[in-house]
Amino acid sequence: MIRKLLFLLMICMLAYTGCFFPSKKTELANITDLENLKKITTPSKIYLNDGSILLFQNGFTVKDDQIIGTGISYILNNQSDQEMKTFTIPLENVAALTYHETQTGAGAIGSFITGVSSVPLTFFALYCLADPKACFGSCPTVYIKENDQYLFCSELFSYSISPHMEADDLDLLAGSINRIETPLDIRITNEALETHFINKMRLIQVTHPKNTAVYPTPDNQLLLFNEFHPPQEAQNSQGLNVLSQIIKDDEIGYRSPDDLVLKLKEGAHFDFLDMKVKVPSSTSNIKLLLKIRNTLLSTILFYEVVLASQGIDALSWTEKINTDPVYASLFKSVYDTFSGITVKVKKDGEWLTVKKINDVGPIAYKYVAAVLPTYNQEDLEVRLEFIPDNFIFDGIFYDHSHEEDEDNISVETLDCSAIFDSEGQEREDLKNLLIDEDNLYLITEPSDVYHFFYRLRDEPEDKVVSLFVRSRGYYTEWLRGKWLTEKSTPNYKFDLFDFTGTFNQLVESWLGSKKMMEEMFHKTRIPIRKDKCPEYR
């Protein structure tokens, strides 16, 4: 994507540099000075004694006291037949003659600078205005400081929407790095209209061999990758070949077409990606790596279909999901049924479910890895099944190498050296809140910022480090005034057990607003507090 954009920009810049802002220069010629056989190549106007004008765009030649040129003539009343003719005019019939030249001068330098900079500047100004997050770096929730810049790394517990849905999460913060500033500054922000309840947050330093990579699994384990092989074939549930979309890590991925989303109106329906993978003989397991992110389908489901459709009743629903463990677990089980990706492997002509990958959130692509059994097949068929348009698949790779992970990676949980709030105050009191899974929570409100400093262990020369954050928690959504005062869906009110109605409304809401939602989602953010975090050494 980036390469294509740069290519387009280069074309535009080259097109602009070919343009300039010329001025005109007109000179009156002295007719008596015209030498015989002189050839004039500049555009010239010949004014004849009878008042007619000849326009010689390509100049003329003087021969035997005559001007010979090709052009258009205008008689005194400015009429012309507009016909290009060759004229031979005796000099004695010429009343005046003007040359017309183009003047650019040092303006060519200005043209060059304008050409090189105007398209990218205008393009980026529009792009950044439209999507500041994408332009100046994405936003929530976890950032790492590197070279005085906070780089967005990950979001935590995207779909833990009540205390009863509190869940563990393992996210990659930085992969395969040689050296990183220490103490490491990790910034946690709350940039949404939510209250975050962080129960546990620990930094994990994973040391592994160079030229390898480590990724988290859905059950929060770590998997080492030595090789990255693309599948041999990949097609979606309509039989379309989607291999080119999923074998490049280029953020142009596969997402389900709208006609598959429309099928949800008839009830639960899944899109899938079927892949063929060549596996060496005697390989019992392969490692699958997905680079994925959610679309805003689940967000629409939660905001529009679940909350906004209830109007004022959204208040009691929110209380119920937060206080009624039975209802919360029912909601979770229904949600789990239709969310995430079900990974299946074909054995003896039958698809067997081997793994479930949860939703990963819509903000940024995440890498998720999983071990799949091969059932001793050399031509393995793998299916990824999901609700249509709930995911974008940017990359799908597998590794069938045999190295044992335990022999090659070392995992250390790091203690936080210091915590600072946005006022620059050291908050020793917060350290205990995040060590273990317990009843102690760090609670953050919109615009809150905290800095966590960690001292990393030195890695051996032949190793690299990947950093992960292991977290646990949940969040509660703030109910918007508009949701409570007006029902967004006149003919629908959320009912957990009305699957058909819910899918119907989801399709209506999603297809009607996904473009606007996708644009708005990246524009809207809660500004964080003025951050006064001091230098910590």
Partner: protein, 193 residues
């Protein structure tokens, strides 16, 4: 921003770039496109009336120009006594269109980038720094164009025929017309003016 939006923005930018060269006045290779008409002039008289139109010709007493009426639908040949003229300028020689592009495509985007960053980072200082850096190409272009731009031919104050004769080359008829020729010019049908 979707790929389609990106392509649309780039297409719009490319379309706008065709405005760089005034196509009525220059060929695509940049040489002057000849026209039988004279240059556009502005004449200000001592009673502060201002006339703008095509410079047609000049004699010892009058400057003649085709001026459009207020609706812009008719043209009339206006003769202005030379002794009443206090300012005379030839407007259409010097191309000032670079100003639109420098301000529109360099200065304004730099300011927008700075403001967007200031709003995003909630820090006016950072926004000013971004604007400052991105303004550099615009300022350099502005300097290059301003310094290289030719001076507009212009007369001011007490103006006489001898002074105006130097500017006759910009007229539709840059020579002394006979009374019969003048008469014919007065009768040029509107559609041929």
């Amino acid at each position: 921003m979707s790929r389609i939006s990106v392509i649309i923005v780039l297409v719009v930018l490319l379309t706008l770039q065709s405005c760089f060269i005034p196509k009525k006045e220059f060929t695509s290779n940049g040489s002057v496109l000849l026209s039988p008409r004279g240059e556009t002039i502005t004449v200000t008289t001592e009673d502060q009336n201002k006339w703008k139109g095509e410079f047609v010709f000049l004699d010892e007493q009058f400057v003649y120009l085709f001026v459009e009426d207020t609706e812009g639908t008719q043209q009339e040949l206006k003769s202005i006594p030379i002794e009443s003229i206090v300012q005379f300028s030839v407007d259409s020689l010097v191309n000032r269109k670079w100003k639109t592009f420098v301000f529109g495509f360099q200065i304004a985007p730099a300011v927008v980038l700075g403001l967007t960053y200031a709003a995003y980072a909630d820090d006016i200082g950072d926004g000013l720094r971004v604007a400052g850096i991105t303004l550099i190409p615009g300022v350099l272009s502005l300097l290059a164009f301003s310094l290289s731009q030719p001076k507009r031919p212009e007369l001011e104050g007490k103006i006489d025929y001898a002074m105006l004769k130097d500017l006759l080359k910009y007229a539709r008829y840059p020579f002394t017309l006979t009374p019969e020729q003048k008469e014919k010019i007065f009768r040029i049908p509107v559609k041929y003016r």
